[in-house]
Amino acid sequence: MAAVPSREVARRVFAREFNDASYTFKESDDERAPVYLLLPTGERANRIFLVGTLTETEDVGEDSEYWQGRVVDPNGDTFFMYAGQYQPDAASMLRELEPPAYVSVVGKPRTYETDDGEVNVSVRPESITTVGEATRDRWVVETAERTIDRIQEYQAAETEDGAAVDEYVRMAREEYDLSVENYRRAATEALESLEADDEQVEASP
């Protein structure tokens, strides 16, 4: 059943890990082959799904409109997104939305190299919608779960022999010199912020 190319899964990742990623690759020579961003915990991402607080929007375009949006996760880390004339729906959402607001974003990772040789990563949104707090909370728990799963896979590779190691874990170990402990902490802190919210609600008269 090679006829229908399968749709790329939207990965769940906190901004801290996403912004540490910089290595991109293709898995075939085909010009239209999907480009993957390698997550530091050892997973490929051609699409991500995130929910957070839209804190700021700005038209940073020169000749035509080019909207930047900042979406912050519970750790205070920021996803940057850019939408221009080729993402008309997302661009008009960024034009119209009044921060702060909870938003869901489906989008593709994009990387660009700055003048001083640093690689920055951002999101090119396919869709942006406003959502409620319950959706945001569900995303936080889900993203923590997926992050923990990836970390466990990554750590398991330390005791397994070469052949059994997941290829993206191996790739992450080769391409990055990062400690996955940071991402475990990001997951823990994000979950703790939900717990703290609950306690506040319970403590209020």
């Binding site: 899964v9 729906d89 728990v141 923590a144 923990i148 997951a187 823990t188 979950l191």
Partner: protein
């Protein structure tokens, strides 16, 4: 095989060959595009020209067809006991199996070659069955439970079915079966509502329900079209994607937009795409649980529930702290 002594004997041998050919043909009719004449000709060549005994000729011809069909001799009907399977176990085509199942639905056959067609069910789910006219089998009755021995599995676009053939043995089963539903439940964030969703037009030709593209049906050309509502969506849980289809009723329930309202919206805007745009705005990026039967790679949405209740972070937190 004694030498043929007279004309009567010769005629008997020839008729015998014809019968043998028919039997071999029956064994392969579901696997190979062959005619009784093809089989007969091969047998005749071996027997008449090469003077091979009929038994040996039959064996040789059968082997040839087994090779062509990529089958083992054990797979041939009458080749001993089949595996007794349950409906949900059927996961490959061209296997000979035995089933005990209840007739859940009988449909109108759309070809004279088909005597009966419908759904069989057991505790594990339902499966389509086809009974060929030429197989000359007794009539199956709606709601009755049968032991079916020697049925062949088949597959079309990812869906499995069973075929009852001339070698199938049908016995009344003196038992009741509680037919299980084979609904699937999928969960995830709705990450896409694909093109071809919202207010669409379908081809009005009889039995054609194709969606018109720019007022054209891919089969029947230019058409006026009849309005309908549909959503083709994608649920994504971060590990897998599930494609879901909402029909008119499910779309109306899910979005709160009726077909009439959708038509008015499109009329006001002079554009049908406003309907899907509104649906996207109100449903994308939220979590849902969808239950319904599967068709090919789609889940047909019967029940939809938004997952907007409180979530428990405690368990995940314990896990996060422990690794």
């Amino acid at each position: 095989m004694p030498p043929i002594e007279n004309d009567a004997e010769a005629v008997r041998a020839m008729t015998d060959l014809r019968t043998q050919a028919e039997e071999i043909h029956e064994q392969f009719s579901d696997q190979l595009e062959i005619s009784v004449d093809d089989v007969h000709e091969r047998l005749e060549t071996l027997v008449e020209e090469y003077k091979v005994p009929v038994d040996e000729a039959r064996r040789s011809v059968t082997s040839t067809y087994l090779d062509e069909a990529g089958m083992d001799r054990e797979e041939l009907s009458g080749g001993g006991g089949n595996e007794q399977v349950q409906v949900s176990d059927v996961d490959a085509a061209e296997e000979w199996v035995d089933l005990t199942a209840k007739v859940v639905e009988l449909w109108e056959p759309n070809s004279d070659a088909v005597a009966q067609v419908g759904l069989l069910g057991d505790e594990t789910g339902t499966i389509k069955f086809t009974k060929w006219s030429k197989s000359d089998l007794p009539e199956l009755e709606d709601g009755e439970v049968y032991h079916l021995r020697n049925v062949v599995t088949d597959e079309y676009q990812g869906r499995f079915s069973v075929k009852l053939n001339r070698t199938t043995v049908i016995e009344d089963a003196d038992e009741e079966i509680e037919v299980g539903d084979d609904d699937t439940t999928v969960e995830g964030a709705l990450v896409d509502i694909q093109s071809g969703s919202g207010l669409i037009k379908r081809c009005p030709e009889e039995d054609c329900t194709r969606v018109l593209q720019n007022g054209r049906c891919s089969e029947h050309g230019e058409a006026e079209g009849e309005f309908d509502l549909r959503i083709k969506g994608v649920l994504d849980d971060g590990e897998d994607v599930h494609e879901v289809i909402f029909d008119k009723a499910a779309t109306e329930d899910f979005t709160g937009i009726t077909l009439e309202e959708a038509k008015e919206m499109a009329m006001d805007a002079l554009d049908t795409t406003v309907v899907a745009d509104k649906m996207r705005k109100e449903t994308l990026g939220r979590y849902y649980r969808v239950t319904g039967p599967t068709f090919s790679r789609y889940v047909l949405a019967d029940e939809v529930e938004e997952l907007d209740g409180p979530v428990d972070a405690e368990e995940t937190l314990i896990k996060a702290r422990s690794i």
